[in-house]
């Protein structure tokens, strides 16, 4: 029996006249994600159909679909002709390894098909009870599974039991482009994932401090970015050397402002790069009060150096909730690998928790800010993932 995957989307329904734009984007994203595999793709009313794939690719396709924002649910269905015998056989084979209570729900778009929906459900239910008398029981109110029979106008019927919920959200690319600051910690990959989920396509920016951080630390960030990229339809990682800036701050500025100033430089460089890449926002994994650099005073201080919006998807999230998401998207285990992060080497013992903006600006004035940024911007490594 032929197999197909039925893909459903949801929030796009809410869209009015520009619904076509969202649908087109989602279609493109799905096709792009499945590129390289054999399949046919059909757009139906509010649903898409992936068919004619190799059975051995089924798992890969399901895995890929589960990472495409904008898809609400999908089902793996058997496809047969609109013929009661064929439908019955499909239902029986699908329920072969099932047990418990069930109901049959028939949807008959092909009105020429007889018997009608109600009767079809009853017939199929009766047949199931005949064949599997000991393990199946009918319960129309709270069944443990439902057999869906979808009899379509084009002469094909879909039979399936499971509706798998996926990411939901909006198609990537529907909400513009942004630049994610990615560190190698737990939070930033989660922030990136959430941004993709709401439809914003992202680039990633990482600050590397060779020799204070090594190749292993960078590889870790590459791996995290690659995983976030699976939700983004591929991703570009931009690596900027932060060594000189850190050394200059360390040499010339009060120790307690080290992190405050590093953040200000990072955001400034992010804005420059974002403008170059035509990104419309900066995204960070900041969470209010999580560490000294994420108090409202610190955020004020780093926010004040740019005009571009800085999006902070995790700002009001508890750490545990962030960790839960990072486990879900499988970045947690990589994030907790303990390679030295660019922040830890120069970490002062007592960082300023509530930096005073005026004092920060004054302390910073001894540095050649423009020169340092220029130098950092002139040597950016691009890793396409």
């Amino acid at each position: 029996m032929k197999k197909a995957i039925i893909i459903r989307y949801c929030e796009i329904h809410l869209k009015g006249k520009n619904r076509g734009f969202f649908e087109k984007l989602l279609r493109e994203n799905i096709k792009k994600s499945l590129k390289g595999l054999d399949f046919t793709f059909t757009a139906m009313h509010s649903r898409y159909l992936v068919e004619d794939f190799n059975d051995c690719d089924l798992q890969i396709i399901k895995e890929k679909l589960s990472k495409i924002a904008g898809i609400h649910t999908y089902s793996e269905a058997l496809v047969v002709n609109n013929d009661l015998n064929e439908i019955t056989n499909a239902v029986l084979s699908l329920c072969d390894n099932k047990s418990g209570t069930f109901k049959v729900e028939t949807n008959r778009a092909d009105k020429t098909f007889s018997p009608n929906s109600m009767e079809t459900s009853m017939l199929l239910g009766g047949r199931l009870l005949e064949v599997y008398p000991s393990k199946l029981k009918v319960d129309v109110k709270k069944p443990s599974f439902t057999v869906y029979v979808d009899i379509r106008e084009d002469g094909k019927s879909f039979i399936y039991t499971d509706v798998i919920h996926t990411l939901s959200g909006m198609p990537v690319g529907s909400a513009g482009k942004g630049l994610l600051l990615i560190s190698g910690g737990i939070d930033s990959p989660v922030a990136g994932y959430m941004t993709c989920k709401r439809g914003m396509k992202i680039d990633c920016l990482h600050f590397h401090s060779y020799p204070y951080t090594g190749q292993a630390a960078k590889e870790k960030v590459v791996e995290l970015t690659r995983r976030v990229g699976e939700y983004n339809g591929g991703i570009n990682l931009y690596v900027v050397s932060f060594t000189k800036i850190q050394e200059e701050i360390h040499k010339k500025c009060p120790e307690e402002y080290m992190i405050t100033m590093m953040r200000r430089f990072m955001i400034r460089i992010a804005e420059r790069l974002a403008l170059k890449l035509e990104d419309q926002a900066i995204i960070t994994g900041e969470s209010l009060g999580q560490v000294a650099s994420q108090t409202i005073e610190s955020i004020t201080s780093s926010n004040s150096v740019v005009t571009m919006p800085v999006l902070r998807p995790l700002i009001m999230f508890d750490k545990n909730d962030i960790i839960d998401i990072s486990r879900k998207i499988d970045t947690y285990e990589t994030s907790i690998l303990p390679y030295e992060d660019c922040c830890t080497v120069f970490l002062p013992e007592f960082p300023a928790i509530k930096p005073n903006l005026e004092k920060v600006i004054k302390a910073e004035s001894v540095l050649d800010i423009e020169g340092l940024i220029e130098e950092a911007m002139s040597n950016i490594e691009v890793i396409k993932l």
Binding site: Y210, P211, Y212, T213, G214, Q215, E247, H250, K251, L337, P338, E340, V345, F346
Partner: protein
């Protein structure tokens, strides 16, 4: 590239690879097979057993060789398979293969004892013998050469002393960093000894446990009953034959290599900037391993900086580089300022003195520069 991390692994010997090449082609047979090819393969790896026993100066009537997949497997076999209950004693300077095995013993409800170290990383013998005199102990494992500081434990002497106190104690030593490097003959007081091929230009995936025939142990891996039933799994014939070749290479020149490496070791000791570096390894440590610390700097940062000059060094033990401080150096009694800055230089007989001189110079330059920025 100047490679000074030979205690982590060494470059496989090309001669050894071509010597053993035929075991991947015309002599690929399974040594357990009963046709001629298999029987010959079995004979051929028996030759390696004799080479190993001979290199340690013991007879095949007293000792046998159990081939394993690595030094860690040999260590695990020793710890878990000789005694099923009782008190297990070791020191705080062991490689993780012993240390973590002991933690596992503890987890399983057995008694474990960890004896303190001297400042150089060797076991404190006074405390060791004291403990054994005053308490019942069943199994002892003491590393031959400490893989982080190079400190050499006189395991023959220790084993003899221990057996004089209680001859029922089983004594094992992890010889991975000593074998083929330190001139040494195994005394009859040592019951088991672990070695590994890739530390002496053999291949990763080949190790051995040398054990007394009279000592009964159970296997760690069950199956087809290879290695006298002590270690199932088809033997890694190619790796074993490579091992044989490099053992011969190393033992023929063991004394010459030792003095050559000592010269390099001494050069670094004498020429590193004493304002910045503290030498952790003692003068009578194995010359193959030299542990130093850049006070108040980070070992990893120095390691990366040296990489830019094409110099590769280790920071602490490669197996445990995921933990910030070295457990072993900490057990030597050092504080944070030293612990943060530990780097390990480890040499091989084919390291060139010129390269070591250049590396020492770079070490001084890099550390001085970093001190200017971080210190």
């Amino acid at each position: 590239m100047i490679y000074l991390d030979n205690a982590a692994t060494t470059c496989p010997s090309k001669n050894a690879l071509s010597f053993a090449d035929k075991y991947n082609y015309e002599k690929f047979f399974n040594p357990s097979a009963l046709y001629l090819g298999g029987i010959e393969a079995a004979k051929d790896i028996n030759v390696t057993r004799d080479v190993i026993l001979n290199s340690l100066g013991v007879f095949s009537k007293d000792y046998e060789v159990v081939f394993t997949s690595c030094g860690s497997e040999s260590d695990n076999t020793a710890v878990f398979c000789a005694k099923k209950r009782g008190v297990f004693l070791t020191d705080k300077g062991e490689h993780s293969a012993i240390y973590k095995s002991y933690l596992e013993l503890k987890q399983r409800g057995l008694s474990t004892v960890f004896i303190d170290l001297n400042k150089d990383g060797s076991v404190n013998q006074e405390k060791l013998f004291d403990y054994i005199k005053n308490n019942k102990v069943d199994f002892v494992s003491i590393v031959h050469v400490n893989n982080e500081t190079g400190a050499v434990n006189d395991i023959n002497f220790i084993a003899q002393k221990i057996k004089e106190i209680d001859r029922s104690i089983v004594f094992h030593s992890d010889g991975v960093q000593a074998y083929g490097k330190i001139p040494f003959v195994l005394s009859p007081y040592v019951d088991m000894y672990s070695v590994s091929a890739h530390k002496i230009n053999g291949l990763k995936g080949t190790g051995a446990l040398i054990k007394k025939k009279s000592l009964k142990i159970s296997p760690l891996i069950y199956g087809g009953g290879q290695e006298n039933g002590l270690r199932s799994g088809t033997e890694n014939v190619f790796g074993i034959k490579v091992f044989e070749y490099v053992i011969k290479e190393h033992f023929e020149n063991i004394k010459a290599n030792y003095s050559k490496v000592s010269e390099m070791n001494n050069y670094v000791r004498e020429n590193v900037d004493k304002e910045i570096f503290h030498v952790i390894s003692s003068e009578n440590a194995s010359p193959y391993v030299l542990s130093i610390s850049a006070k108040n700097l980070r070992g990893e940062v120095i390691m990366h900086s040296l990489e830019e000059y094409g110099i590769i060094v280790g920071n602490g033990s490669a197996c445990s580089s995921k933990n910030r401080f070295s457990r072993v150096i900490e057990a030597c009694g050092y504080k944070k300022e030293i612990l943060d800055g530990v780097i390990r230089l480890s040499f091989s007989h084919d390291t060139e003195l010129n390269d070591v001189m250049f590396a020492t110079q770079c070490l001084n330059v890099v550390a001085k520069k970093l001190k200017g920025i971080m210190g």
